[in-house]
């Protein structure tokens, strides 16, 4: 008895090279697409595989030398007869996971009951079939609003594919894709999942002001931002009060950065943006050493004579110091940078995060990289220091109430923070490498993953990749991923929108998905906490009965 969902029979393969299955004549070859999720039932285990290639093959090469190509009835009949017998399709499969075959009469260990990487292969002529909803749930879990969050659906089926959020927030993650492929929608989707499940506290450096209150999708329709969906659980701060108010956003506060909050590490990170000479960082370090916390302001205030005197006294290079000073004027001129502040506005943000509230930091019109990198680095450095202290205290007391909340920091244009020069010197590089030790992770959003330091990339736990064209970027995605070559072909066939390849720590196996729609249905699903549900019901009441 052949099961209805059977696609074919396993005919060849190896663990290393992947498997080959011969497609049944009754299955149209065009229905089998790259990235399809299929199941092979072996004698002891069920294997879950991805289709990595579809090939035409023939049992006899004479057919190919003299193909029945005429449009007449005889050749048409010949083609029908030959297809599936002499000429057939081979499907290349990459076995990803194995799970106990419950129908088998074998005593299984507990370890066999959870999906594990496939370390063997099923025997010849095992049935290859389409995976069912139950299979997906066994492998990816169910969207329960807590630990699993539905990120989308497989390309050709209507079943949920879920991220394991507990695993997701354990490590730094990346969302990649060239511009216009829906990265920021995907990011917002995932942030919603993390916030709803309270899996981590989020700080989002919102370069284009699209996460906080609202954003426009590709069709120009306005969609809800995080603070609309989660109300008081998400606070929006801004670096540009005027722009935020102009867009109708009511920010929780305006962020100003005092010059004394800027350190040498921040300057080092801005090397590219400020076109600093190599010696500038050394000069900055000298200034910080000799002039104290307020070194930026003091350096800026020096006139020519004072600078010469300082250089001579401390053994600095005059030209370098002078160049540094003129570059620092660019920072001084940023609207959100103040000479001095009575009290740091960052404290408010940090206190909010410590309480478990999520923070979106809008940049408004300050969307140039200089502003973005400076602000993000200053804030992240302080947070990282704080979280390291918290973690050390937790290690000492071993008291669960001291355990820091996991903090996830979302940064865009991540290659600016994490390129191979910057990654060694900046907090972001440290966070990306230190993993979850200090309960701080990154959500890296970027269109040029090849610009990110390889060491950092290899530490990225879950990679969610939209379409990429550049070969180097594709290579970068598969840094530190075993079996990457099989997935390259899959990645290359992603649509330019609403499709992504998810692989890594938070999914048991790589999966090509149609990303979940960010629409009213989704709003209702994520905002199903009591307060917003009540508000939604009230709105519904108004819709039905009018405002009266």
């Amino acid at each position: 008895m052949i099961p209805a969902s059977r696609l074919g029979l396993l005919v060849a393969g190896s663990v290393a090279e992947g498997l080959s299955a011969r497609l049944d004549p009754s299955v149209p070859i065009e229905d089998v697409r790259l990235g399809k999720f299929v199941k092979i039932v072996g004698q002891k285990y069920e294997y879950f595989c991805l289709v990595t290639d579809v090939q035409l093959d023939s049992a006899n090469n004479d057919v190919l030398r003299d193909p029945p190509g005429d449009p007449n009835k005889i050749d048409q009949f010949l083609r029908q007869v030959l297809s599936g017998t002499t000429t057939y399709a081979l499907v290349k499969l990459k076995p990803e996971l194995m799970l106990a075959n419950l129908a088998a009469d074998v005593a299984f260990e507990d370890a066999d009951m959870v999906p594990r990487p496939a370390r063997t292969i099923p025997p010849h002529f095992s049935n290859v079939s389409e995976a069912t909803l139950a299979d997906f749930e066994r492998v990816f879990g169910q969207d329960d609003g807590k630990n699993h969050f539905q990120i989308g659906q497989p390309i050709d089926m209507d079943v949920p594919v879920c991220l394991d959020l507990r695993r997701f927030v354990e490590r730094s993650n990346g969302i990649f894709g060239k511009s216009g492929t829906g990265k920021s929608f995907l990011t917002r989707l995932i942030l919603c999942g993390v916030i709803k499940a309270s899996a981590a506290v989020n700080l989002i450096f919102d370069m284009h002001s699209e996460y906080g209150w609202s954003a426009k999708n590709e069709e120009g329709i306005e969609v809800k931002g995080l603070s609309q969906l989660f109300g008081s659980r998400v606070a929006v701060y801004t670096l540009d009060l005027e722009s935020s108010r102009g867009r109708g956003v009511k920010p929780a506060g305006e962020i100003k950065i005092a010059l004394r909050e800027i350190s040498v590490a921040d300057i080092a990170l801005l090397q590219d943006e400020l076109r600093l000479h190599r010696t500038a960082v050394e000069s900055a370090a000298l200034c910080e050493d000799k002039l104290g916390d307020d070194w930026v302001a003091r350096l800026l205030d020096m006139n020519g004579e004072e600078l010469t005197a300082f250089a001579n006294l401390e053994g600095g290079n005059h030209a370098s110091l002078s160049a540094l000073r003129s570059k620092l004027r660019l920072i001084d001129r940023l609207p959100f940078v103040e000479r001095s502040l009575e009290r740091s506005t960052l404290d408010q943000v940090i206190a909010q995060l410590e309480r478990g509230q999520h923070v979106v930091l809008e940049f408004g019109r300050q969307r140039n990289l200089l502003a973005y990198i400076l602000a993000a680095n200053v804030i992240t450095r302080r947070l990282h220091e704080l979280w390291v202290k918290k973690t050390e205290r937790y290690w000492n007391t071993k008291d669960e109430s001291d355990r820091p909340r996991p903090l996830m920091i979302t940064i865009e244009e991540a290659h600016k923070f994490l390129n191979s020069d910057a990654a060694r010197q900046t907090t972001f590089g440290t966070i990306a490498r230190e993993l979850r030790k200090f309960y701080v992770t990154l959500l890296v959003v970027d269109q040029r993953p090849s610009g990110i330091d390889a060491e950092v990339l290899s530490q990225i736990g879950t990679r969610i990749t939209c379409q990429l064209n550049d070969e180097r970027d594709i290579d970068a995605i598969f840094t530190g991923v075993s079996g990457g070559s099989h997935l390259r072909t899959v990645l290359a066939t992603l649509d330019s929108r609403e499709q992504a390849l998810v692989l890594g720590h938070a999914v048991p196996m790589p999966m090509m998905v149609r990303t979940r729609k960010y629409d009213p249905v989704f709003y209702a699903a994520v905002a199903a906490d009591p307060v917003s549900a009540m508000a939604a019901r009230a709105r519904r009441y108004e819709e039905i009965f009018g405002d009266e």
Binding site: P68, I74, T85
Partner: protein, 213 residues
């Protein structure tokens, strides 16, 4: 003459007596047609009942008309304007000295209602009647599988390709185009090493069917 009458799909629903077994072996049997020149067409299914509840099925692989006495050979009888059928009218003794025989390859048998597509334990008995198979019998025989194609393919001393094509042609008329496609696929499996032969057979299967439609 009943030659044309046999061919149509709706022609025969009762098995028609068509001959008598005069030679039998495990793999084939020779039958004499009940009437001169009225052998079943090349390639059709025939059946022989036995004393046991067993029916042997064969496929007509060769038809011959010659003198009854193996030693005597027919001589020319036409003269002037006595030609063709008029020769028979002028020589009413001809049906008595000539006979039509046909050879059928054994392709399977039915025992206790079960059809098997392999050789029967015993050949049919001499002098038992040979019948043409009804479309219903052909359906149940072909539904049992396509293993019989292998038997035809391995036959000796017969034009195998012609035989296969003729058999599939006849059977398709009663079974429909889907049968031909399934049989063609089976044949493609059997002849996967010989593409030219496969296409030759399939072309011969198809042409007359197009004419019928």
């Amino acid at each position: 003459m009943s030659l044309n009458g046999f061919a149509g799909a709706t022609a025969h629903f009762e098995p028609a007596l068509i001959g008598e077994v005069v030679e039998a072996s495990t793999t084939e049997f020779l039958a004499q047609a009940v009437e001169l020149d009225s052998a079943p067409p090349f390639g059709v299914f025939v059946q022989v009942a036995t004393d046991e509840p067993m029916t042997v099925y064969g496929v007509v692989a060769h038809v011959q008309t010659a003198g009854i006495d193996p030693g005597s050979r027919a001589i020319m009888r036409g003269h002037d304007d006595i030609r063709d059928d008029r020769i028979y009218q002028e020589n009413p003794d001809l049906p008595l000295v000539l006979r039509t025989t046909f050879r059928a390859l054994v392709v399977g048998f039915e025992e206790h209602g079960q059809i098997h597509q392999f050789l029967p334990p015993r050949p049919p008995r001499l002098h038992y009647s040979v019948f043409t198979c009804t479309p219903r019998t052909v359906t149940s025989f072909t539904n049992a599988g396509f293993d019989y194609l292998q038997a035809l393919l391995n036959a000796q001393d017969v034009p195998v390709d012609e035989l296969l094509a003729a058999n599939l042609r006849h059977t398709t008329r009663s079974e429909g185009a889907d049968f031909l496609q399934d049989a063609g696929r089976e044949l493609a499996q059997l002849l996967r090493a010989d593409y030219a032969r496969l296409t030759g057979i399939l072309r011969r299967c198809l042409a007359p069917i197009e004419m019928v439609r």
